[in-house]
Amino acid sequence: MTRYIIRRLLWGVLLLIVVSALTFLFFRVFPTADPAKLRAGRLQSPKIIAEIRHGLGLDKPLITQFWLYMKGIFLHFDLGYSYYSSASVKSLIFNRLPATLSLTLGAVIVWLLVGVPVGIISAIKRRSLLDRAAMGTALVFVSAPVFWLGLISLYLFASDIGRVHVFPGANSYVGLTADPLKWFTSLILPWLVLAATTAAIYARLLRGSLIETMEEDYIRTARAKGLRERRVVLRHGVRSAINPIVTLLGIDIGVLLGGAVLTETVFNIPGIGRLNYQAITNSDFPIVQGTVLLAALFIVLANIVVDIAYAYLDPRVRYS
C-alpha cells in the first residue's frame, strides 16, 4: 500500500507539472489580452510597454519563464505576484482558501447527509410513491443550474431581499474565527444551494447502484442466513454500492476546493473561485496559474484518498 501511495504521489507531481505547462501555454497561445499593454493603459509607447514587459518578466523566452516559475514553486513555494495589485499570489490564495474550504466541506456534509439516505430509501422502496417523489425532486435539482438556484434562494429566503426573511443573504460571509455563529448562519444558504444538485446526483446514482447490488447472489445468501434486512442493506448492499459515489466524491471535492465560482459569486463569498474568475478577466496570469495549480493539487490528493478508501470499503480491492 505504501509503495502504491508513493507511486500515486509521484504521478501526481508529474500531473501538476503538466497542468502548469498547459495553463501556461494556453494563456499565451490563444488570443487574450496582453498583460503588459493592459498594465500600461492607453497610448503607452512601445518603450514603456517593453519596460513593463521586462519588469513582469514577460520578455524572457517562454521556456525560461516557465522554468523560473516552476523553480519558484518547488524551491521557495513562491507563486509569483499579481500583475495588478502586486500582492503575493500565495498570500492571496491563502487569504481566500478558508472561505472555499468552509463552503466546500459544509456542502459535502449536506449532500452526503441528504443524497445517500435518499438514494438508499429510493432503492429499497423501489417504485413506491416515496421513490418516485424523491427521484422526481432529484431530477429537478439536477436540472437546475447552481447560479439560478442561488438567485432564487436569495430572492425567496435571504434576510435582506428575500420574500421570507430566513437566512443571511449575499455578502454576509464572515470568517470562522471572526464570528463562528455568523460564519455558520451566513453559509447555510450557500451550502444548501451548492449541495442541492450534487445530492440529487448522488441519490440517483446510489439508487441505481444499490438496486443492482441487491440483485447479487451474496445478498440473497445473506438474507438466507437470516440476517436482518437492515444489516443486509447497510453492511452488504450499501458498502458495495457506494463505490461509484466515493469516486465521484473525490472528484467533486477536488473540483470545489479549486473554487465554486458560481456559488461564490452569487453569495459574494471571497473564495478561490472568485479570485480565479477575476484574474482571468484581468489577464492576471500568476493568479490564474496559482489557482489552477491548487485545483489540480486538490483533485490529485482527493483521488488518492478515494483510492485508499476503496481498499477499506471493498475487501476485494487490494493494491500492490
Binding site: K37, G41, R42
Partner: protein
C-alpha cells in the same frame, strides 16, 4: 483607451432592458437640451442633487461588482478607482459633482496662470493641507512636483502622461527621477515649463489624480520597486484615507483585492481648506458578487449604494418601483462604429457616408437600453463637453447621411453610387473583417452593424471576442488592419474638447507598435493640422469653438459612424442622499454623499 474600456464595459451592464422602458423615458420628462439629458420625472440627476450633507456621520456601505484597477493616484484611471482616489487624494484642481466644464482649485489655491506664449504654467499651492499619518506634515509644491515626476517613472506606468504631459521639458527623456521642466521654486509655487504652447491642455489635465501630492521622502523607497508599491502604503490628503495597519500598509487591511476596501476619516484633513463637505464617518466597500443581487440589496436595503453600473433588470426595477433612488447622468461617453480610414474599402469617404446612412442607430441604442440610458449620437463631441452645442447639439450637423437615425437606404444608395458602385451595392473583392465585443450588448450591436454592411453588398468575416481582446489584439493593433470595429467607445478624461477628439481621431497620434486608440486609423492631414492649431488655443469658449469646427470636419469626412451618447444609471438605498459625479460618468461621490 483603458478608461474607455473599463467604463464602457460597466456601462454595458446597464443595458438590454425592456424596450417599453425606453419609450417611457421620453414621455413625461424633464428636459435639459444642453446636456442631452432627457429623464423621466422623479429620477435624480447630478444636477438635481443637493451638495450639502443631510446628516453628518454614519457608515456607507458601497457594493461593487468589480474591483479597483489601481488605487495609487499615479496609476488610477477608471471611474471605480476615481471614487476612492478622489475621496482620499486632492489633485490640484477638481470638479464639483454637477460640473464637467469648470474645475475649481483644490490643492491649488487659485486658477493656473498660463503664460502668454502658453509654454509656462504656474500654480500656487494652498496653505494648511496636511498628509495623513505617518507623514503628517504640510503639503508643499515639491510634493506635487514629485507626484508629477513619478508619472514618468517606468515603475508607475501612468496611462495618460504620454498624452497630456508629453510637452513638459525633459519629458521625452524622463526615465524616473526629477523632470527638468517641473520646478518648485518655493514651498507654495509650482512651475511647469513646456517645449510647445500646450499650456491649456496641461493646465486642464491637472484635474487628473496624478497631480495629487506624494511625499518623496516617504514614497521613494516604494517607488524604487517596479512596479511601484506606493499604492499599498499610500498616504492621503483628502477627507478620507484607506485604513492601514500598524506598519501603515493598506494592502491586506484597508484594501483586500477582490474582497473589500475601507475608507476612514483622515485625521489631518482640515475642512477649512476644502470645498467638500465630507459627511460620512466611514465607507465600507464590498468587492465582488453578482450585480443583480447587489442591485436588489441596494434598492431594498439601507445605508448602501451600488458603486458600479447596475444591471439592466435593476435599472428597470428602480425605474418602476424605486424611482427616487435612481440617478441618470449624462456625458457618460459614447459609442461608434470605427471604420478603417487608412486601409481597405472605407478609405473611400462615400462608402463611409453610405454606411453611416444605412446604419440603424435607433436599433443599436435599443440594444443598449433605449432612451433612458442613451441618446442617438449625431456627431463626435458629446453632451457636457464644452463645444457640444457649437458642434450641433443633440440634432447634430445637417447632412443627409445623419438625418434618419433608423437608417436610410435611399441615401445610402446615393453614396454607394458616388463611391463608384452604380448598382448601389458594393461589388468589390474585399471581404471586411469585423471584430466586435462579445459582452452584452456587443453581440446585438455588432450584428446590426454587420447586417447594415451586408445590405450594402459587403462580404464580411465576423468575429466577437471579449472586450479586452478586442482592443489589445485587434482594434487597437494597427497591423491587424481591422476594417470595422462596431463597438468601440470613448470617455473624455476631463471636460475639454481636445480630450474628447484628439486621441481617437488625430492621425498624428496613431501608434503603430504600441497600444493605439485611434481605432479607425483616422488620418486626414487637414484635420490633423486643425487639431494641432486648436490645441494651442487658450480659454474655455475659444477652445470650444475651435474644437467644434473640428467636430464638423470629422462629420464631413464621416470618419466613423456614431450611434450612442451614453447616460449612466446609478442606484442607492432610500436613506442615502447620494450625489453622483457628472465628471465621473455619474458614479457616487463619497465626499458629498450622506445618510438621511
Amino acid at each position: 483607451m483603458m478608461k474607455s474600456l473599463r467604463m464602457i464595459s460597466l456601462a454595458a451592464l446597464a443595458s438590454a432592458f425592456a424596450l417599453g422602458l425606453a419609450a417611457c423615458g421620453s414621455s413625461k420628462s424633464s428636459v435639459s437640451a444642453n446636456s442631452g439629458l432627457n429623464v423621466p420625472q422623479g429620477v435624480q440627476t447630478p444636477a438635481s442633487e443637493s451638495q450639502t450633507c443631510v446628516k453628518h456621520g454614519g457608515t456607507l456601505n458601497a457594493l461593487d461588482h468589480g474591483d479597483y484597477e489601481h488605487i495609487d493616484p499615479g496609476l488610477s484611471y477608471y471611474a471605480l478607482d476615481y471614487e476612492a482616489v478622489y475621496a482620499t487624494q486632492r489633485p490640484l484642481y477638481s470638479y464639483k459633482p454637477n460640473s464637467f466644464k469648470e474645475p475649481v482649485p483644490d490643492l491649488a489655491e487659485s486658477a493656473p496662470q498660463i503664460s502668454s506664449d502658453a509654454k509656462t504654467v504656474t500654480i500656487h499651492i494652498r496653505h494648511g493641507v496636511h498628509f495623513s499619518p505617518p507623514v503628517n506634515r504640510e503639503v508643499s509644491a515639491a510634493d506635487v512636483a514629485y507626484a508629477l515626476d513619478r508619472g514618468f517613472n517606468p515603475g508607475v506606468p501612468n496611462p495618460y502622461v504620454p498624452t497630456y504631459f508629453k510637452s513638459i521639458e525633459g519629458a521625452s527623456k524622463a526615465k524616473g527621477g526629477a523632470v527638468p521642466g517641473i520646478k518648485a521654486p518655493d514651498k507654495y509655487t509650482l512651475v511647469i515649463h513646456l517645449t510647445e504652447p500646450a499650456g491649456a491642455i496641461v493646465a486642464d489635465a491637472l484635474v487628473l489624480p496624478l497631480s495629487a501630492a506624494v511625499p518623496e521622502e516617504y514614497a521613494k523607497k516604494y517607488d524604487a520597486k517596479s512596479p511601484s508599491e506606493y499604492g499599498n502604503f499610500q498616504v492621503a490628503t483628502g477627507p478620507y484615507m484607506f485604513k492601514a495597519n500598524g506598519e501603515h500598509k493598506v494592502l491586506g487591511t484597508g484594501y483586500q483585492p477582490g474582497k473589500s476596501a475601507t475608507l476612514v476619516r483622515n485625521p489631518n484633513w482640515n475642512a477649512s481648506t476644502d470645498f467638500r463637505p465630507a459627511c460620512l464617518d466611514q465607507i465600507n466597500i464590498s468587492i465582488g458578487g453578482d450585480p443583480t443581487v447587489i442591485g436588489r440589496q441596494v434598492l431594498e436595503g439601507s445605508n448602501s449604494v451600488q458603486n458600479d453600473a447596475p444591471t439592466g433588470s435593476n435599472v428597470k426595477l428602480a425605474y418602476q418601483k424605486f424611482r427616487s433612488q435612481l440617478e441618470i447622468s449624462p456625458g457618460a461617453g459614447d459609442h461608434y462604429v470605427a471604420l478603417n480610414n487608412s486601409h481597405g474599402p472605407f478609405t473611400n469617404v462615400n462608402l463611409r457616408k453610405a454606411f453611416w446612412a444605412a446604419l440603424n442607430r435607433e436599433a443599436m441604442n435599443k440594444a443598449r437600453g433605449g432612451a433612458l440610458v442613451t441618446n442617438v449620437m449625431t456627431h463626435f463631441m458629446y453632451p457636457e463637453i464644452p463645444g457640444f452645442e457649437e458642434a450641433g447639439g443633440l440634432t447634430g450637423p445637417k447632412v443627409d447621411y445623419n438625418e434618419h437615425p433608423q437608417g436610410d437606404t435611399a441615401v445610402a444608395e446615393k453614396y454607394m453610387k458616388l463611391a463608384g458602385y452604380p448598382g448601389g451595392k458594393y461589388t468589390g473583392a474585399a471581404t471586411l473583417q469585423v471584430v466586435g465585443n462579445n459582452g452584452a450588448p456587443g453581440p446585438e450591436e455588432s450584428e446590426i452593424a454587420n447586417q447594415a454592411l451586408k445590405n450594402l453588398g459587403f462580404k464580411t468575416k465576423f468575429n466577437l471576442v471579449d472586450q479586452a481582446t478586442m482592443y489589445s489584439k485587434y482594434c487597437g493593433v494597427v497591423k491587424e488592419n481591422i476594417d470595422v470595429c462596431p463597438t468601440v467607445g470613448w470617455i473624455s478624461d476631463f471636460g475639454d474638447p481636445q480630450a474628447t477628439l484628439d486621441v481617437p481621431f488625430n492621425g498624428k497620434g496613431i501608434i503603430t507598435s504600441g497600444t493605439n486608440s485611434n481605432w479607425g486609423l483616422v488620418n486626414h492631414p487637414a484635420i490633423n493640422n486643425a487639431m494641432e492649431a486648436a490645441a494651442k488655443v487658450v480659454g474655455i469658449e475659444a477652445r470650444a469653438k475651435a474644437w467644434a469646427n473640428i467636430d464638423r470636419e470629422l462629420v464631413a469626412e464621416a470618419v466613423a459612424a456614431p450611434y450612442d451618447w451614453d447616460k449612466q444609471a446609478s442606484i442607492r438605498a432610500s436613506n442615502v442622499a447620494g450625489v453622483g459625479d457628472l465628471w465621473n460618468v455619474g458614479y457616487w461621490d463619497y465626499n458629498f454623499t450622506s445618510l438621511k
